[in-house]
């Protein structure tokens, strides 16, 4: 116990580790805030120049960048409607409307505090329940991933805006776009039209920047005479009463974040979307309607995506299986330093586990400090006149997209999606479901086919498979309950109108 505590406090008491964690968190916030600069890319670059360092400083820096980066995406999502990272897509849905109301400072403050609370819950789960959560993550079968993706896609219903048909169209369009490229199971080309440029698929970050950022910039130009929105930056730290009011939602969303983060192949983006969907279904009296600047629309995704950091570390440290793309890169770093993440880690190198837990906790404290500072300056961005802001958003979108993989083709895609998104929006289609479909479609496709193959292509056996484990049965029952609830709601609305 004393040993565990000393390992936990190592980065708190060593000045160089303390400084590296702080620097990593600070850099991570701004890397996350800039569209096109991803946390995965930053961590991969860090590994290339930290591999000559000893293991603790390297891990301290990486943990800081990871923690800061997952949160950082919320800043550009709130201020410019361009999620800096996919994990901030759900945050943009209510964060940007808050900024449009002059409450950007409050939105970012709320996002910061909720990210930190979510982060702490994720770390607590890592420290206390890692083996149990790893067992659950290993027991999750392809059909369960299918149900999880389906649950996420049901969010299309609440993101559809005025017309469910238009929302469904956009969600299905997103699924089709997500399937472009070589099939990950059979390597058959899908929607590639014989061109090699499409074999690798369409990068969804480029689509996200186009659909959210460029289309928003173009729509703003339809009303060039509207004055800039004055931002209230007097009170950025959410009052204690607000934190207390949101506590049950924060806890629920963080738990979703931990579990989804621990599932291999998922990550903060899916966790945030599922938590947002859950909040829309369960919160009866949000501060504003969802999609129009509800505080709950920030609380849920922000606590979930940072809780997913702790969740993603769980299978990595206990099983040697990455929870998301960043932890996959971190596993590489651990191997470079001669460590073997996996079941023997707690036996052979227990210090690594407790050092990581302590380091992530420290990074979250720095996140609170750096996250709450500079908000006044950032919030002023949203006050800039449209004549300056729109061209700057367009340049940032181009550079950010080019930075993903140095590809001019990606920039063309991004601009194309931006223009298409403009037409979708002016005719009442919501662009959120398109990006949702692009993220969840491929996961759903692969999970469905794996489950179907394991059922020997027999639809009856496939359906019976949902009764084979408590996870599948529970998820299936939950999906049916959600669908029934949506059906009842629609029926009541129809009767009300009649």
């Amino acid at each position: 116990m004393t040993d565990a505590l000393s390992y936990f406090l190592l980065s708190w008491t060593d000045p160089s580790l303390l400084a590296l964690t702080a620097a990593g968190t600070f850099a991570g916030i701004y890397i996350g805030a800039i569209p096109g600069l991803s946390v995965t890319m930053a961590v991969a670059i860090l590994i290339s120049f930290t591999f000559t360092w000893s293991v603790n400083p390297a891990l301290a820096l990486i943990a800081g960048v990871y923690t800061g980066g997952v949160y950082g995406g919320s800043r550009s999502a709130v201020l410019l409607n361009i999620p800096g990272a996919p994990a901030a897509i759900a945050t943009a849905l209510d964060g940007y409307p808050m900024a449009q109301r002059g409450e950007a400072g409050r939105a970012i403050g709320l996002a910061t505090v909720m990210s930190v609370i979510g982060g702490f819950i994720g770390i607590a789960a890592l420290a206390i329940a890692a083996p149990a959560i790893s067992d659950i993550a290993l027991a999750v079968a392809p059909r369960d991933y299918l149900l999880l993706a389906l649950l996420g896609l049901l969010l299309v219903g609440s993101l559809s805006g005025e017309s469910f048909a238009k929302g469904l169209f956009c969600g299905a369009l997103g699924v089709a776009l997500g399937l472009v490229g070589l099939d990950q199971m059979t390597a058959e080309p899908r929607f590639t039209f014989g061109t090699t440029a499409l074999m690798g698929g369409i990068p969804y970050v480029a689509a996200m920047i186009g659909f959210f950022g460029v289309s928003e910039a173009l729509v703003q130009l339809r009303r060039p005479d509207l004055p800039p929105i004055r931002q209230q930056v007097e009170r950025i730290v959410p009052p204690w009463a607000a934190v207390r009011r949101h506590a049950p939602l924060t806890l629920r969303s963080s738990l979703i974040g931990v579990v989804v983060g621990a599932l291999p192949g998922t990550g903060g983006d899916i966790a945030a979307l599922l938590a947002y969907d859950s909040a829309r279904r369960t919160v009866k009296a949000p501060t504003h309607p969802f999609g129009q600047g509800a505080e709950e629309g920030i609380v849920a995704p922000e606590s979930a995506n940072n809780a997913a950091v702790g969740g993603a570390y769980i299978p990595m440290l206990t099983l040697g299986i990455p929870g998301d793309a960043v932890t996959a890169v971190i596993i590489g770093a651990l191997f470079i330093h001669g460590l073997k993440p996996g079941p023997m880690l707690m036996v052979e190198t227990p210090h690594l586990f407790w050092f990581t837990v302590g380091n992530l906790t420290l990074a979250n404290i720095f996140l609170l400090v750096f996250g709450l500072s500079g908000i006044r300056v950032f919030a002023k961005l949203a006050e800039a006149p449209r004549a300056l802001l729109v061209p700057l958003i367009l340049v940032l979108s181009v550079v950010g997209t080019f930075a993903i993989q140095n590809s001019a083709t990606d920039v063309l895609w991004m601009l194309g999606f931006g223009v298409f998104g403009y037409f979708l929006r002016i005719y009442g289609f919501e662009v959120g479901p398109v990006v949702l479909g692009m993220i969840l479609g491929p996961l759903m496709d692969a999970s469905y086919r794996r489950a179907m193959i394991s059922a020997a292509d027999d639809p009856l056996e496939f359906v019976m498979g949902f009764g084979e484990s408590w996870i599948s049965g529970g998820l299936a029952a939950f999906c049916i309950a959600v669908l029934a609830q949506a059906g009842l709601k629609a029926l009541r609305r129809k009767r009300g109108r009649a």
Binding site: F169, L173, E188, R190, F191, L388, D457
Partner: protein, 152 residues
Amino acid sequence: MTARAAPRPPGEAAFCWAMVLLGAFVTWQGSAIGHFDGPSAAGVFPVAAGGAMTLAALVAAISATRRAEPGLGPVLPRDVAAIGVLVLGYMAGLEALGFVAASLAFLFLAILWLQRGRVLRAGLVAALAVAVVWVVFRMVFRVVLPQGWVFA
């Protein structure tokens, strides 16, 4: 949630019918993927996605056609069209001139157009913005930016 939001420009029904065609095209392309030799074939999801697109767009198109409300305002207002043309030029310029020259030109012209004049302010903001982006992306994060071949 069901109330209509902002007034629409004309052409909503035509756009929805174009989306029906897009959905039908996706379904047709999806059906051409591999062999449909079982429920786990590679084409199942693409066809399902295309089918859902077609049906949903059809519902939206019929609804928009029935409503037949007269549209308000232009589809492409002057500013949107002008910035659209500048973006096209920016794309062409990026490949030829590289990031710095193309972005400077785009920002300068776009700001000049949108604020209806004020040359000095447009030039200063454009130069400052390009400098900041260059320092952050190229120098701090070592991201490769388009080089261009005219000044190479």
